[in-house]
């Protein structure tokens, strides 16, 4: 009996090691979005320089859509851009953009150079809408359902894998959903 007691520290160590090993697989840097299954916060953003229309939260209602937060100052956004162009060309889902904290004209020039995948773009020069959306960095992408609720948020670059494996199936699932 007493001998078995000596194995207690080893058992405790094993339990803790297993717990920490599980913890290592998580990404503590990713702050869970508070918006999931909530209505998209209301906003009405002006257009970026040289564009006619801005972006309001009401523009996203009635259809499943992608809302992408980007900035010309953000290197990962440039990496993500070709994927957004491809999604836009495929016509599966409309892509909306929020140009986050760009100096005047920078976003416009960036889109002229790289192509414009967005149906409409809002100019969030002060970054206040980004805070309402709980943005922690660019790029971030939301999937909004037909009722205007946020259903998913992706932090970071949309890679081919993320699109094929996660976002596209979800978009198709939401498009098949009955109008609530």
């Amino acid at each position: 009996m007493n001998r078995l007691f000596l194995f207690l520290p080893l058992a405790l160590f094993a339990v803790m090691a297993a717990y920490f090993a599980l913890g290592l697989r998580e990404n503590p840097g990713e702050i869970p979005s508070q918006l999931i299954d909530r209505e998209l916060p209301a906003f009405d953003l002006p257009p970026i320089q040289g564009h006619e229309t801005g972006l309001a939260s009401a523009d996203l209602a009635g259809e499943v859509s992608l809302l992408n937060v980007f900035g010309s100052w953000c290197p990962p956004c440039a990496i993500e851009h070709p994927m957004l162009m491809q999604i836009s060309r495929s016509g599966v889902v409309p892509v909306y953009g929020i140009d986050w904290k760009d100096p005047p004209g920078a976003g416009t020039r960036w889109l002229e150079r790289n192509g414009n995948p967005y149906v409409r773009i809002g100019n969030d020069a002060e970054g206040r809408v980004a805070i309402d959306l709980g943005i922690t960095g660019a790029p971030e992408t939301f999937i909004i359902d037909r009722a205007g609720r946020v259903r998913y948020r992706h932090v970071g670059v949309i890679t081919e894998d993320v699109w094929e494996g996660t976002l596209l199936p979800l978009v198709e699932h939401l498009q098949a959903e009955d109008m609530p």
Binding site: I31, P32, Q34, K101, G127, I131, G134, T136
Partner: protein
């Protein structure tokens, strides 16, 4: 030498203080509001650079969050309301100190449990030691017999 080191350290510390955000342009006119804003900056996490408060961080998003804090204070929010405003957008993560609630109770209680467990273990060990010492046959009879047996073996007596 020691004086020089001290001077260098002091210089470094001053440089650090000068570099620390928030900058002077962020100061609020009302000194009482400024003091509350400062206290709040210290309790709110910069969501990009997560181990810093927005008081420590130079990140643009931290500056934006400080602006929100000031705006809410000017709008007449209480400290708790300012925190709730950001919690609503960023969740509990935005607070430097996790709130005591259902999903964090283990986090808060774990150190106490470990401390109590260690205390009990020490108590049990000490009492066990004392018991063997007390209960040991120190009448000498057993010892004598054993000693005799040993010395017989070695052919001493």
């Amino acid at each position: 030498m020691r004086q020089m080191l001290a001077a260098m350290l002091a210089g470094l510390m001053l440089a650090g203080a000068a570099l620390a955000s928030p900058g002077p342009e962020e100061r609020m006119e009302d000194a009482r509001l400024e003091a509350r804003a400062r206290a709040l900056y210290d309790q709110l996490r910069c969501v990009v650079c997560q181990s810093q408060s927005i008081d420590d961080s130079n990140a643009p998003l931290a500056a934006d969050l400080r602006a929100v804090v000031r705006e809410r204070l000017l709008a007449g929010d209480s400290d708790a309301e300012v925190k709730a405003y950001l919690q609503d957008r960023y969740g509990d993560y935005v607070l430097m100190l996790p709130p005591v609630q259902g999903n964090t109770i283990a986090l808060w209680l774990f150190p106490l449990v470990v401390l109590a467990g260690g205390g009990i273990a020490i108590l049990v060990f000490v009492r066990g030691q004392r018991r063997t010492f007390m209960a040991g046959d120190d009448t000498g009879e057993g010892d004598d017999a054993r000693a005799r047996a040993l010395s017989d073996e070695e052919g001493l007596s």
